[in-house]
Symmetry: T
Subunit: 146 residues, 12 copies
């Protein structure tokens, strides 16, 4: 079964308790569970990772990318300044989709710029929980037969 | 059957012939056909509109929004300067998703800014043809029971 | 009876339903009716025009300006980028007053710049419905005997 | 009789002699006289104040605002940098209208920004002497029955 | 006989009456007539189009480009913000020359930037009426035998 | 008994009535009274001054600084543009602490820059009434034995 | 006994040896010891943490915030770019005070901007060692009875 | 005897004690005395004024300009933001020379911009005490016979 | 026979060998030869000059301008920063046309700004070799009978 | 034998596989091996460190700097935003040389700024593998006898 | 007799014919003659130099500075970009005064910045011919006895 | 023996006397002598050139580049604005290394940008005299066998 990486950046481990009016009331565990099931239905194994540390995320991408079909990543606040994660994605040549819970273009000015999006296949933001499923479907429906 | 509006902005009528290395080889007609079928499966009627004129797009949104559940819009180049389309979306209070074929964050500098995204529910870019289907699924799966 | 042009730009046809907390609850029809009456009292015939299309507004200005004493214009969102409407006003050499319902300097950053005001006689913003009457009085009281 | 404050900022005491091609040939005394008469007709008492000192203007606003229905203010050059006058207007919670003789958007770049307008009800510029009358009418016609 | 498109943007229909100190005293009809004759001498058929509407210009380019050897375009004020016309030129892959009556680099700051020039073969500005003839000669003398 | 100057800038005389949700409900008189008592306990005499005029504040600093151990200053809106007060502090070589009631970094953009802080010993903002006491303690606890 | 978190960011473990002309000659251990004693006097238990890693600081805040009354944080160089620490503070809804040894507004340009201050209760900078005590007093004196 | 105005802005009354390494060790009184003598030799009466208040400087200029041949002004920190003094100079149509003790272009960034210089005859900076004499000679040698 | 100056700036002496994909394969000598012939046909004597030195170009313009009808200048890289050449053109009051081989608006950002164009009659770029001929025709056809 | 530290930042552990057209085909192990040999020849012991984590790099610098003669550092993407590493270098007062494989000034805009270079002895970029040897020689040849 | 250098930059050799409404009607020869006489009266020998070439000016400064007491320089357009002349002045450690005929702060935006002034003793602009005499007096009156 | 060009820009002929605290105490002659010897050892003939004139440097590069293996260039102040030298390097397709004595990133803001580095193989700055030797070694060790 082909593998997909699902990476969540800083503070996303607090999903469900963190600003629920923005991020909803489900936990990261719920999210991963739902995605795992959906992934199985679509014929994919999902490998989940969350960290508050930029270095740990780079380590994970470097280690797991070689055997994976793609990367779904919500870099959290790293979206706006982590050129190191950007370089990691380019270095391992993985097909990546950047996901954001909230619509980052409707929030503070600093959230409008992603330094990571330019090296991804695509970006989606504002679809909450469902956004991850959208990214997963994208890989399943368009990539399996390339 | 609930209705969804699907609006494509300037030059998207040339899909299939316009820069196929960026926009793919299918025509807008193909796209609409595929979406209509998918919509029907999900229980939605889709109303398509394409125009090269900003005013025509605003007229369409004003006229059709009242009876519609949502709006999927690829504003084309208007993305970057049409504050008038932005105002139209706010004025009719419609739930909108902004879609782009290509990853606008990986192209020319001027394409990195959307003046419309801040008033949309979400934005997705870089998923080509499939992006419209993702937006459609979003409406079908998350909005039907609100 | 001397003529004055009253031009409203995109989405102003939705007055009364569009964001009533900002734009009030009266319709454009109400506005025009009130102004027409006031105009008659002051000895002016008013010619009304509203369009969502930049080109249509330019066409109107070009056609009607020659026989008119002045132009009251609320360019809506075009205020912020339509150099073409600006050029139209200069081209026909009409005395113009720019009007805005809301105080554009108390709203989003992008609304703080008008590309049209520099070629107008004056600008007024934030007086709602009454602002059009103020502009009309200006023409009636100061221009009739020039 | 309800009271309205009319404040003129630095160098406006030179009206009539200062750059008459921009500011006209009438003096501030003429202006005040005309406004006083108009105010009386509309049922308002006007209290005039002019100063070249930012501090004096703030003192005046703080002292007179409590008993007044509104403030008509032409801050002169203070328009462009006096955050202290801005704060004064907010502090006393008075309904203010910013007025400028000339069209500030048609003059030097630095005159295009008002730091005071964002806390006013509205702004009008370019109508010369008559602009004060417009502001006065606004208060009389729209505010008396709030 | 090979065809060339000649497109004039907003307010250029007012040539001859619009700011004659900048744009000269001949009308657009005169211009087209002169060009048509010169075109015939050089073995080209010219198709003229003028519109105040961005959408109409895009429609025209899309429709006529397939059968044409090149495009001479004076986008008027659209020069400075119409990314949609820019995209149209790229979409139809036509060889375009941007022309301006006046020297746009000697006028207001906002006229110094063309968003369309980067996708044209070349740009020329400041040669008045004669500039169109220069562009026409360019096509005739350098392109016929490519 | 060593002396400390406590200077409050424009509109701070309105404390207690001015935007109480930001500035609290106590008056400047209350503040001074509380500080005077605290000062006495710590062995300091406090000299209070408030003015809405930049010039008056500079006059005060020039006159009182020579005999004083330090300056606690809340420049109000002058924080953001009074290079003249900045120069005054440098000119008299006094040890100054800049204080703000509210957290200026959580308010409007223009409040984020202090032109005075660079010439002060330190700055504190966001601690309301208590911030003045903090500044006072700083002088009492760290400066008395230098 | 209520708890307060005291977090020091990168390179602050070198206090006493690092640029003593800026940061003084006492070590972090001295600082913590002094604060612990002061805290005990004021009825607070202090929990200290220092790390050179952004991720470790976020981990600490997430873990300890739930049981704590407040956070005293000197983010060191992270002050200027760690949107991830900013998000952590918001996510756990803790009352935070940002502290800096030196007056950051009197140093290099890049140190003038804090991306963390906007989500804190307040900020103080330039009071050296004593600044932590000021922050501690703030919590003890103003927060205990809320 | 023709009159010349000599105006010194904020903190220049501290000459001799203020940052002597920049401003020298002579007092303003010395300066005025020296200039008065030099003026007399050149056939001019000098009228001196110094104030820390922007408003007072404007008042002085307005009052004294009508009878004066010229103005020598060192606006101190007002140089960088007092558009009101700039307007005063234009309003009274006086021939002005801006003088600075120190070379403002060799100091902090904010001192590099003068908002007043554009409306002066000329500007000189960096010549210390002697700069005033240079300005005085300029008036005496070039203006007396115009 | 009237004279025209043809000036080429730095590195244009390398035409034919320098980046032929941008500048073509003909040498400067070829260019001059072709232009000389064309000039003769049109009744003009051409005086050619090329230098890598800004000063030499200014010397040439100063010396030859008095007897010449116009100047065709390709300033090469000096286009983007030589205010001295700009001043030279203004100083000698010559009618100048700025020419560029390549379309400077389709190349690096720094090439988009010409400091010389604002003082020229017009600018043309992107027409390669033929651009010089266009400029020559402009002088011959429009200037001879002024 | 004196020691030199050699630190490589994020993603440099992928040398040899990462974008070989930019970074060459040798691995980090090869690089270290070559350098170690060269170091030995020059009388230096080299201590190597690579990490994807900013905090780990700071920890290493803090721990090893005291016994070392110098630091050769390629901060990778941290070059562009890690003020924390910058502070670490200053804090331990080590003589540092910044090295980059590729010419960072010939790549994306964001790579043109180094926040670390200002606190280094020097910077070199674009010499690939050999750049480290150059830095090593610099220490060996110029520093040994200081 | 002590020597002073007087350097004039590009296009200043055209004085008298170049834009006389800005630069007056006297020639550079007149200027030098007048200055030479004034210099002799003050006990100085003046050495004049004018060039249109930046390199020639640097050569002159390098050669003549060692034996000179000071430098009066009007760098013409080089004022705004010649960092090389700036470096020359610093390199030879000469006391320099920058002079401009016209008030550069009242002309085009680009003339407002001098890259040379920061390394001069002072700058004066707007005094025409007489400005050179002012600079000369400055050297004679303040420098002779240092 | 293969040849290498060594070019030094403006004011570098003053090495040894110019700001020795920055540039050291050896002369350019010393530098060239040392390099010549080192070059001979490495099997290279070095051709030296220094000029204060941009044009002379371009002339030299154009003349000597064809027979040379590479270029070591310290453009001095031209680093920051000479697009003409940049174009020269590209035009002759020579492999260039940019060298700076001092660390340009630790000096004035304007020295942080090199317009020449983007077209060089690499850049090194801050290594003083030794930097040239590093560049020379780079050519000798890495280029000889390409």
């Amino acid at each position: 079964m082909p593998k997909l990486l699902v990476v969540n950046g800083p503070n996303l481990n607090l999903l469900g308790t963190r600003e629920p009016e923005i991020y909803g009331q489900q936990t990261l565990e719920n999210l991963n569970h739902t995605l795992q099931k959906l992934g199985k239905d679509l014929g994919y194994e999902l490998i989940f990772f969350q960290a508050n540390s930029e270095g740990a995320i780079i380590d994970f991408i470097q280690k797991e990318a070689p055997g994976a079909k793609g990367l779904i990543i919500n870099p959290g606040a790293f979206t706006h300044y982590s050129y190191a994660i950007r370089d990691a994605i380019v270095s391992v040549k993985i097909d990546a989709v950047e996901v954001h819970f909230s619509n980052i273009y409707a929030r503070e000015e600093f959230r409008h710029q992603s330094v990571i999006a330019p090296v991804c296949r695509g970006q989606l933001s504002g679809f909450g929980f469902y956004g991850y499923a959208m990214a997963l479907s994208f890989f399943a429906d368009t990539k399996s037969d390339e």
